[in-house]
C-alpha cells in the first residue's frame, strides 16, 4: 500500500498544471462573500451559546448559583461541570513520553479555575445577546489561590501547584544529549551565550474559533461544523468522549479563515457544544468573540532559553547546550500535549549545523494562562532565534562575517542524509544553495558596503541572516508530537469519476487558507490526464472523505499530494483499460490528456464522459468484468518525510529618535522542492514572514504577576498591518525531495526564519552600542531601554 521509493520523475511527461501559477479555485467564492464559514451555517431555529469565563487566575470554586440565570429571558439551559458530569468522558492528551503528566480536558472548569478566561458555565439561549445578559446573573463564589504567573517561579520547590494530582508544575521534562559538551566547551576557542526569550504570542486567525452543532432528531445524530484544521481528530475524540459512533457524529470543517495552529487542537467549547446539542436535542451555534479568541485559544512561544555555543578558532561551532523553560499554560492540549512546542525547541536547536556535541534540557511548566499549542513553525521560531543569535555572536567574537560562518557550519550537499546532534535526520536539501541564493538576491556584498557608509554618518543600519531547516511531510517513522499515539504518518486520496464524467477527489487533509483545493487539483490534473477545471476537490467532511488527521506540520502537499499522485495513476490505468476496449487499441498505445484518452498518433479518442457512460450506463459496449467502478483510493506514507530549508536576510534601520525599526529589505531563499503553484508558495512565504515580523517587532500577550491578560484587545495587542510589512524578494531553490512528486512542505517557514533574521539585523544595527538582542519582540520601548542602558554604561566607563 505504501511507497517510500523516490517518485519516478518522468511519471508525468509534460506537467501542465504543476508548476503553473494557477489562480486559486477557492478565491472567487471567498472574495465575493460566497464562502461558507462555520458561523454562516443556518440550521433550523438554532440556539446560541455563551460562556461564563473565569476572571480569577487560580481559585477554588466553592459555589455556583445559576437560579437567576435559568429564569432569565430566552434562556433554555445553564450548564455547569456538575450538570454535565455524566454526559462525557474527559479527553486525555496521552503520550508515551516519560516525565509527562497529561492534564485531562474537561468542557467546563470543575472544582477549580486555572486561568483567566477558562470557561466555568455555559448558557444556551435563543440569542447570543440574551445568553450574554444571563451570564451576568450567574453567581460564582471563589476561594482565591496563589496565582502562578511566571514559569521560572513555578518550578520552585515551594511553589503552589496548579494540578495537585501531578505533584509538580513541571508537566513535561526531557533531555537530549550527544557527546561530551563539558569537554568541548572547555576546549572551545570562543564561547558565546545568554538568556533568550520569545514572549507569549497569539496566533490570531482572522476568523475566530467557531462551532455549530446541528442536531438531527430522526437519527439522534450530530453534525459538528467546526473551524478546525484537524476535523478528523476532533471527530474521533468527540466520538470517544460522548460515546457516539462515527455514523452518528459527522464533523465538517467548511471554509476556515486561518488557524496558524490555534484551531489545531480539541477545545473544551467543542465538546460542550456537542454535549449541549445532544442534551437539548437542538442545534446550537457559538463563535468566539475577539476577546475570547485572544484569551482562550492556544497561544505560542513563551519560552526562556539559557544557551551557550562553543566555536573553534576557525569558526566551526563544536558544541551547544541549552536549558529551556516553556511556560505551557494551564493544560496540556489534545492531541499534541504540552510537550509539542517546548520539546521541539530543544530537538531543533542545533538547526542545519554540524555541531558535534549537544545537551538540551527542557521543562514544560504549568502556569495560570491559556495553554500554549501548535503555532506556525512550532518550536522552530524559538530554536532558530536562539541558534542564529548564537551564530552571529560567535561570528562577532571571532571577527568572521555572519555569512561566512554559516557557510562553514551548514551541512553540505555531499553530507546528506545528516543526523544532527539532537538526532533529527536532514535529507538532501539545498542548505548552502539557499544561503548563497539569499546572499545574491540581497546583494550582500553591496549591502555591507552600504552599511559601512550609513554607519559613517551615524545611522543605525543592520543586516541579519537566519538559516534554518525543518522537517515537513513527516511519515510514520517519526511522531509529529513526542510519544503521541495518533497516526500522523499517512494520508488518503479517493478519486472518483461518476456517471456524468465529473471527477471528485476526496482528501482528509483539511484546508484553512492554504489553497489545497487548487494545488491538489493541479497534481491530479497532470497525473490523471484531466482538465484542471473538471476536478472538484472535497475536504474536511467526515461523511465524504477518508480518515485523516488534518492539515498541520507542513504535511498536506507532501502527504495529500503523494496520495493524489498514486491514486491518479491507479485511476488512469482503469481509464486506459476501458478506453482500450472502446478504441480497440492496446493500453500502451494510449495517451491520457485533457480529459480524453487518445490513440497515439491518430485522431481517435474518447472523453472521460464517454468512458463513464460506457462503464456505468451502458449494458452492451463493455463486457461485465470490464465495467470496473472508476474510483481509486490510495494511502500514502512518506515514512521519513522530508526536509525543507531556507535562508532569510533582513536589512533594517533603527531611527535613534523614535527607536522604531524599519525593514528596508527582506529576502527569502527557500527550498520547498518541486513547486506545485509558485503563486501559492510566494503567498505562504509572504504571510509567514508577516507573522514573523509580528513576532520580531510587535506582538506580545502581556500577563501581569496576577495572571491577568493586559493586552486583550487589538488596541493593545499590536500586529503588523500592511504598512509594516515590506515588499519581499522570494527566491526558490527547487531541489526535488525523495518523496512522491519531489515536494517539500513550506507552509510554516516564513514564521521560522523572519524573527531570527530581524533580531540579528537589529543586533547588527545596534552593534555600535555593543548591544545584544535576546528578547523578542524588539519593541521601540525595549530598544529605547537597551540604548539608554548602553549609554549609561559607556558613561560609567569613561
Amino acid at each position: 500500500m505504501n511507497s517510500d521509493r523516490p517518485a519516478n520523475r518522468s511519471d508525468v511527461l509534460r506537467p501542465k498544471n504543476v508548476g503553473a501559477p494557477i489562480r486559486r479555485t477557492e478565491d472567487p467564492r471567498l472574495l465575493t462573500g460566497s464562502g461558507e464559514y462555520t458561523a454562516d451555517r443556518m440550521p433550523d431555529r438554532p440556539l446560541h451559546l455563551a460562556f461564563l469565563r473565569s476572571g480569577q487566575p487560580h481559585a477554588k470554586i466553592t459555589r455556583i448559583d445559576t437560579t437567576a440565570a435559568s429564569e432569565a429571558a430566552g434562556v433554555v439551559a445553564v450548564l455547569t461541570a456538575e450538570e454535565i458530569v455524566d454526559d462525557f468522558k474527559p479527553v486525555i492528551p496521552f503520550s508515551r513520553m516519560a516525565n509527562y503528566y497529561a492534564t485531562p480536558i474537561l468542557p467546563l472548569a470543575s472544582g477549580k479555575v486555572r486561568y483567566v478566561g477558562e470557561a466555568i458555565a455555559a448558557i444556551v439561549a435563543t440569542s447570543r445577546y440574551l445568553a450574554e445578559d444571563a451570564l451576568e446573573l450567574i453567581e460564582v463564589d471563589y476561594e482565591p489561590l496563589k496565582p502562578i504567573a511566571r514559569a521560572e517561579l513555578a518550578v520552585a520547590e515551594d511553589a503552589p501547584l496548579l494540578h495537585e494530582e501531578a505533584g509538580t508544575n513541571v508537566l513535561i521534562a526531557r533531555e537530549f544529549k550527544k557527546g561530551d559538551v563539558g569537554k568541548d566547551m572547555a576546549a572551545a576557542a570562543v564561547r558565546v551565550g545568554g538568556r533568550f526569550e520569545m514572549t507569549r504570542k497569539a496566533p490570531l486567525a482572522m476568523e475566530p474559533r467557531s462551532y455549530t452543532a446541528e442536531y438531527e432528531k430522526r437519527r439522534d445524530a450530530l453534525t459538528l461544523y467546526t473551524s478546525s484544521n484537524i476535523p478528523g481528530i476532533i471527530r474521533d475524540a468527540i466520538s470517544e468522549s460522548l460515546s457516539l459512533p462515527g455514523h452518528r457524529l459527522r464533523v465538517v470543517a467548511p471554509d476556515v479563515g486561518g488557524s496558524f495552529g490555534s484551531k489545531g487542537s480539541l477545545y473544551p467549547e467543542e465538546l460542550l457544544i456537542c454535549i449541549a446539542a445532544r442534551r437539548l436535542r437542538r442545534s446550537i451555534k457559538w463563535t468566539a468573540d475577539r476577546l475570547e479568541d485572544i484569551s482562550s485559544s492556544s497561544q505560542a512561544f513563551s519560552e526562556i532559553v539559557d544557551a551557550e555555543m562553543g566555536f573553534d578558532a576557525n569558526g566551526t561551532a563544536t558544541t551547544l547546550q541549552a536549558d529551556v523553560i516553556g511556560d505551557v499554560g494551564a493544560f496540556s492540549i489534545y492531541p499534541w500535549t504540552c510537550g509539542l512546542e517546548p520539546v521541539q525547541v530543544v530537538s531543533f536547536l542545533p538547526g542545519p549545523y554540524k555541531i558535534q556535541s549537544y545537551r538540551g534540557a527542557v521543562r514544560g511548566v504549568a502556569t495560570c494562562k491559556p495553554p500554549t499549542g501548535p503555532y506556525r513553525g512550532v518550536g522552530r521560531p524559538v530554536s532558530t532565534f536562539v541558534c542564529e543569535r548564537l551564530m552571529d555572536m560567535g561570528a562577532k567574537a571571532l571577527g568572521i562575517d555572519p555569512l561566512e560562518i554559516r557557510r562553514r557550519n551548514l551541512v553540505r550537499a555531499e553530507e546528506f542524509p545528516y543526523r544532527i546532534a539532537s538526532g533529527i535526520i536532514w535529507d538532501k536539501t539545498g542548505f548552502i544553495e539557499c544561503l548563497d541564493a539569499a546572499a545574491e538576491a540581497a546583494g550582500y556584498v553591496q549591502l555591507r558596503k552600504h552599511q559601512a557608509h550609513a554607519r559613517e554618518s551615524g545611522r543605525l543600519f543592520g543586516i541579519g541572516i537566519a538559516s534554518y531547516a525543518e522537517l515537513t511531510g513527516i511519515g510514520s517513522r517519526i511522531a509529529v508530537a513526542p510519544g503521541m499515539p495518533i497516526n500522523t504518518g499517512s494520508e488518503t486520496a479517493k478519486i472518483t469519476i461518476d456517471s456524468t464524467g465529473a471527477i471528485t477527489a476526496a482528501f482528509g487533509v483539511a484546508s484553512h487558507g492554504q489553497g489545497l483545493e487548487t494545488t491538489l487539483g493541479q497534481i491530479i490534473a497532470d497525473d490523471l490526464g484531466a482538465r484542471f477545471e473538471d476536478i472538484r476537490v472535497v475536504q474536511g467532511d467526515s461523511d465524504e472523505v477518508p480518515m485523516s488527521t488534518g492539515t498541520y506540520a507542513s504535511r498536506s502537499a507532501v502527504l495529500g499530494g503523494g496520495a493524489a499522485k498514486h491514486a491518479s495513476a491507479i485511476l488512469q490505468a482503469k481509464l486506459r483499460r476501458v478506453a482500450s476496449h472502446l478504441l480497440e487499441a492496446s493500453t500502451e498505445d494510449l495517451e491520457v490528456t485533457d480529459g480524453k484518452v487518445a490513440v497515439l498518433g491518430t485522431d481517435r479518442s474518447v472523453t472521460f464522459k464517454q468512458i463513464a457512460k460506457a462503464v456505468y450506463s451502458d449494458m452492451k459496449t463493455l463486457p461485465v468484468d470490464a465495467r470496473e467502478e472508476l474510483t481509486a483510493t490510495y494511502t500514502y506514507d512518506p515514512i521519513n518525510g522530508t526536509t525543507a530549508a531556507a535562508t532569510h536576510i533582513a536589512a533594517v534601520e533603527i531611527d535613534p529618535a523614535t527607536c522604531f525599526v524599519k525593514i528596508h529589505k527582506f529576502v527569502v531563499a527557500e527550498d520547498c522542492g518541486r513547486i506545485i503553484n509558485p503563486m501559492i508558495v510566494d503567498g505562504q512565504v509572504h504571510g509567514g514572514v508577516a507573522q514573523g515580523i509580528g513576532a520580531a517587532l510587535f506582538e506580545e500577550l502581556i500577563y501581569d504577576d496576577d495572571g491577568q491578560l493586559l493586552s486583550a484587545s487589538l488596541v493593545d495587542y499590536v500586529i503588523p498591518s500592511a504598512p509594516e510589512v515590506p515588499l519581499m524578494d522570494v527566491v526558490h531553490v527547487e531541489s526535488e525531495s525523495a518523496v512522491a512528486g519531489g515536494f517539500r512542505g513550506m507552509g510554516e517557514g516564513g514564521t521560522i526564519g523572519a524573527p531570527a533574521a530581524i533580531a540579528n539585523a537589529i543586533a547588527d544595527a545596534l552593534s555600535p552600542f555593543d548591544i545584544d538582542v535576546s528578547i523578542l519582540p524588539m519593541t521601540p520601548e525595549r530598544i529605547f531601554r537597551l540604548i539608554q542602558n548602553a549609554k549609561l554604561k559607556a558613561k560609567e566607563k569613561s
Binding site: 447570543r128 445577546y129 450574554e132 445578559d133 468573540d289 475577539r290 476577546l291 475570547e292 529618535a657 523614535t658 527607536c659 522604531f660 510587535f698 502581556i702 493586559l710 493586552s711 488596541v715 493593545d716 499590536v718 503588523p720 498591518s721 504598512p723 509594516e724 521601540p780 520601548e781 529605547f784 531601554r785 539608554q788
Partner: protein
C-alpha cells in the same frame, strides 16, 4: 461581546435629542460616529438606557468661514476636515493632523463632536482644540453655553458636560503665525499617538515674538504648554534653540507608564518631536520672514 439592552431614538432636532436625554435621567448617551462608543457598549463598559442618535439631525455638519474663526458643526466627519480646502488654508495645523486620526473607515464615520466628547488623551482633535483655544458650543435643557477648550477636558475620557448636554459646534480661531509644525509618533500609522506636538511661532528675522504649543499622549488630557511658550520666546534664536526647547518641553511633562510605553520613553519621544517640530516651524518662518 454584545451590548446590554438599550433603547434607541433618532430625533430630527437638537431640542428633541436634549428632551430624550433629559427623560433618561442621566442614563442616556449620544451616538455620533459610534467609533468609540460602540466598542464600549460591546464590552459592556458603557450601559446607557437609551442611545440618542444624532445622525438624523440636519445642519450639524458644516465647516464655515467666519473671518477670524472657522466654525465646525459637531457632526462633521474627520474625513471632511481632512479634505477641506478651507481647513487646509486657514487651519493648516489641523489639516496636517487629520490624516493621523485612525484609519480611512474610521475617519469616514468619526465626528469632531464625538472625538472632543470622548476626550481621549491621545486623540488629535482634543489636542487641536487646546492648541487653537477653540470654544465649544454646547446645548442643554438650560440653553446654549460656550466652553473654552481648556475647561472642557477634565481627565482621561472625561469632559465637563452635563449628561443632558450636546456639543453642537466648535469654533477655531484662525492663528497668526509665521511657521508651524505638527509631529506625531504612533506605533503604527493610524494608531493613537505615543506622543505628539503641535507648534506655531511668530518671528522676526532675529527673534521669536510668540509661540503656541500643545502636546498629547503624555498626560491624562492634552496639554497647552503656556509656560514653555513664554520660556521659548525668551530664548535667543540660535542653533542651540531646538535642543534647549526640547529640554523645556520635556521638563513640563511627566507621563505615566502604561502598556504601550513607559513614561520615560514617551518623554524621550516628545523631546525628539519638539526638536523636529521647532526646526520645521523655524524653517518655514525663515522663508516667510
Amino acid at each position: 461581546m454584545k451590548p446590554a439592552k438599550f433603547d434607541y431614538i433618532a430625533p430630527s432636532t437638537v431640542d428633541l435629542a436634549i428632551e430624550a436625554l433629559v427623560a433618561s435621567n442621566g442614563e442616556g448617551k449620544v451616538l455620533a460616529g459610534g467609533q468609540s462608543l460602540l466598542p464600549l457598549l460591546n464590552f459592556r463598559m458603557a450601559r446607557p438606557s437609551i442611545l440618542v442618535d444624532l445622525n438624523r439631525i440636519e445642519g450639524l455638519s458644516y465647516i464655515e468661514d467666519r473671518e477670524d474663526r472657522i466654525a465646525i458643526g459637531a457632526l462633521t466627519r474627520h474625513r471632511d476636515l481632512e479634505h477641506s480646502p478651507l481647513v487646509a488654508a486657514r487651519l493648516p495645523v489641523m489639516s496636517a493632523a487629520m490624516r493621523h486620526v485612525a484609519h480611512l473607515a474610521i475617519r469616514n464615520r468619526g465626528t469632531i463632536g464625538g472625538s472632543l466628547s470622548h476626550a481621549d488623551p491621545a486623540a488629535e482633535l482634543p489636542m487641536l482644540a487646546m492648541f487653537y483655544d477653540a470654544s465649544i458650543a454646547v446645548r442643554g435643557p438650560k440653553g446654549l453655553r460656550t466652553i473654552a477648550a481648556e475647561d472642557f477636558f477634565v481627565d482621561a475620557l472625561t469632559n465637563c458636560l452635563e449628561p443632558d448636554e450636546i456639543v453642537v459646534e466648535v469654533e477655531f480661531p484662525v492663528l497668526d503665525h509665521d511657521g508651524w509644525a505638527f509631529e506625531e509618533v504612533a506605533r503604527r500609522f493610524g494608531d493613537f499617538a505615543l506622543a505628539s506636538i503641535a507648534l506655531s511661532v511668530r518671528r522676526t528675522e532675529t527673534k521669536l515674538e510668540g509661540a503656541r504649543i500643545a502636546v498629547m499622549g503624555v498626560a491624562d488630557t492634552p496639554l497647552r504648554l503656556r509656560e514653555a511658550e513664554q520660556e521659548l520666546v525668551a530664548l535667543p534664536l540660535d542653533a542651540q534653540l531646538p535642543e534647549r526647547f526640547s529640554e523645556i518641553v520635556a521638563s513640563k511633562v511627566s507621563p505615566n507608564d502604561d502598556l504601550h510605553a513607559s513614561g520615560e520613553y514617551r518623554t524621550h519621544l516628545l523631546k525628539q518631536l519638539s526638536k523636529r517640530a521647532l526646526r520645521t516651524a523655524l524653517e518655514a518662518g525663515e522663508r516667510t520672514a
